[in-house]
Each structure stands twice: as structure tokens, then as C-alpha cells.
Symmetry: C2
Subunit: 261 residues, 2 copies
Amino acid sequence: MKSVTSRDNPFYKELKSLAASSQARRKAGRTLLDGVHLCQSWLELRGAPNHCVVSEGALHNPEVADIVARCESLHAHVTALPDALFGALSQVEHGVNLLFLVETPAPVQPAAMSVSAVLLDGVQDPGNVGSILRSAAAAGITQVFCSAGTAFCWSPKVLRAAMGAHFVLEIFEHVDLGALIDASRISVLAMSGYAEQKLWQVDLRGPVAWLLGHEGQGVADDLMGRATHQVVIPHAGRVESLNVAAAGAICFFEQLRQRQA
Amino acid sequence: MKSVTSRDNPFYKELKSLAASSQARRKAGRTLLDGVHLCQSWLELRGAPNHCVVSEGALHNPEVADIVARCESLHAHVTALPDALFGALSQVEHGVNLLFLVETPAPVQPAAMSVSAVLLDGVQDPGNVGSILRSAAAAGITQVFCSAGTAFCWSPKVLRAAMGAHFVLEIFEHVDLGALIDASRISVLAMSGYAEQKLWQVDLRGPVAWLLGHEGQGVADDLMGRATHQVVIPHAGRVESLNVAAAGAICFFEQLRQRQA
């Protein structure tokens, strides 16, 4: 285990930049995982991080000590920081002072979709994107394609909301969703409050792509036109809209229900 | 329309206190609705507010002007504030400077449940609570009962996430959920990742109460024991948990699907 005690240390500066800026994460192709749950998930699903960073105070926490020991047994770098320096790296209030620095997974994007997938067209809210990733992974979906206007998936808020779903998914960002749909043969279901075909009338037992749009404006017109189905989640109340992450969860698990029936 | 220009005005001070503190909202039995969508929904579903508060700059916005005119035609008080004073009242960045001051609806709690309902046991995150209210209302559920440990439903974040669902629901807070369950004859379905009965194997065509628990710990043991069913949402992925709001949405709409089938 190394120790860094100066704010001018280049590695500390790199961490600070990655902690504060999605742009820095994008540019470096690296991201930070914050807290015990995400770090444990990474270890279980992806193995060693590039670097494990821990505050001196957190070393007394048995869960943290266990994670540090596992990192060392996998020959990952471990660096301890004074608690005061660590504070600037974490957005989690009252969190455990533990971070993994990892290479952002960069899977090669397939030219066409052949398995069930989620397409996010301009979903803005990081909490919504994270919740969608979490629900998709829990329903057994493995691929997520995001348009340029969708929230950056490897930001702290999206990572926190997805609770490790990132590590079992293939996530593709800055995707030309129109071209992807055109190149694919599977059904593309655009969700819309104005559609007529009801979700539970669609046969979902084969692979489908779920196209979910912006919180306010929904799916963009040009993508809506390219979808093979426009589908509505039926409502029964006087409130006629759903949160996009709630809508996604309903869709993914209706598919799972039909497949398990 | 009145005009308030001093920070020392008692009405302005009341607004500031309600804007900043859930405790003040609870104590006063009043709440603030922030922005065009919530105010429009209130007008449509509940009628006149006690008071419509608007910044001078926002009066030029046609949607705001329309809402102000409707308030005046309903003989509601309307007060204009300089933009600088309004700023301290709103948590919405780049929002439209419009607020309704309303009496928090305080429906009389029934001794027992007889229609489908949602029971929230210590759900902490305001965004989750708001999303659950929104999904429940959209699925046609009309009653929500919250334990003392659940996030305050009339806070800005919950109101924003629920998008007006509050105004079609009966919301009961600080409820002794155990006593309520004991007094009720409808099925109570406690959602749990560890249960064996699968959601889609339960007959949901009659009235049921959905019991949803804390984001980390789930439903408390004593309530779990009182439920008539312990139910799991089946999973297919290597990620084995769902966000509580996503879980709620899946449950409420599985019930709607069965009812419409």
C-alpha cells in the first residue's frame, strides 16, 4: 500500500479531476467507483481495479479492509490518503471513503441488434438512467445503446443509481440510434403515451429493443417513425404519464413475465 | 394582484419558511407547489389555491399569465414579488417563477383498507416516493399510507417527482402500518427479494395493498410477518435487486394488466 499526503501529487490531481468532471472521465476513458457496494460488485464481476483508493480512517472498517486485501492479492495498486484529502474525491455524504479507479469498459458496438436491448434517446436525468440500467440488468437484458443526448452513463449519479448493473451490461454511448434501428431486424418498440397498441398485447417472447425517450418530449419523431411498434402502457388513473424509469421497468418485466409464462 | 417588495413582509417570511423546511410545512399544514405543471394540475384537480405567488418577470410568460388570470377569476389571492425576492423561494433551477400556496390535503384516515392501496414502510428517497405516487396514481390506485420513517410526501422533491399525482391520491402520513394491516381484510403483499411466491402467480384482480420497504433494508420484519403474502419479482440477470420505485411500478401495472385481461 502506498500513501499520498500532498494535494500536489499528480495521481491525487488525476483523481480529483475524475471525481469532479464527466468530461475528464470521458477523455481519460477511466472512471471512479464510489463506496463499498460498487467496489465489491466490480471485484466480483470484473476482477481487479486499476487502483484502489482509501482514506486512512476507512482502513479500520472491516468491509473496506477486506476489499483492500482482495485488491492486494490481485496485485492491484492500493493508495491510502489522509481523510482530509479524500473528502474532495467523493460525492457521497457520510459515505465510506473507498474508491476504485477503473478503465471504463468500452465494448465494440455491434452493427445491428440481435438480442433484447434498451435504446435511450435523450434520457436526461442521471437517476433515471441509472434506474433503467438496474432494471434492465435485473430483467436479463444485456445491451444498452444511448444517443448523444442521454446522460453520461459513467457519472457518479448514474453509477450510484444503477448499483452495479453497469458491470453486467454492455453499454454503448453516443450511438446513432436511427442507423442502428435501420440496420437491425429485431422489433423496436417505441414507448409513447399517445400510441394505441397496448404493451400487454404485444408478443415479447422474442428479442425486442425498448426505445425510451426524453423525460418531457418523449422519443424523437424520426426515431418514432423508424420503430416497428409504437406501444403504450395502459393507464387507469387521472394521471396519465409515468416516469421514464418506471415505464422501462414495467416494459422489461412484462417481457420477462411473458418469457417465463 | 398585490405586490410585496420587502424581505421583512410577514407573508414573504412565511413563504420563505415553507420553501426551506419540511417541518414548517408540516406544522403549518400548508405547502408550496413550484412551477407551471404542478400549479396547472392543482387548478384542474383541486381548484383555487390559497395564494398564487409570481415573480414580476414571470408575468410576461403566457402560461403564467393564464394561470394568474384563472386564479383571479376564482378569487384566489395573487401576489407579485420582485425576481430577486422570488429566488429564495424556489428550488427549481432555471424554473418559471410561479408558486401556489395551498392547504395540505388532510383526508381522514380510514380504520381499515377496503380498496387497493400502497403502504410505504420507511422509503427514504424523495425521488423514489414521488415516483411511486406517480405510478400508483397512473395505475388507478387511490390510497397511499406512509409510516413515520418514510420521506415527507409534501416536500419539494417528492412533489416534483410525482408530477401532480398527489392531487388525485389520498395520502396518509405517520400511519401505524401494523395496526392498519391488522384491521384490514384485503390481501397485503409484502415485496421482498427473498420471497418464493412470484408476482405473476398471485391473483391481483381484487383489491390488494402493496407493502414496499426501505431502499436498503426492505420491509421491516414485524410488518413482513403481518402480510398475507410475501412476493418476489422474478429476476433473470446477475443483478438481483430493483430500485423500490421500479419495483412498485412493476407491481401496480401487473395488477392493472390482470384486471384488464
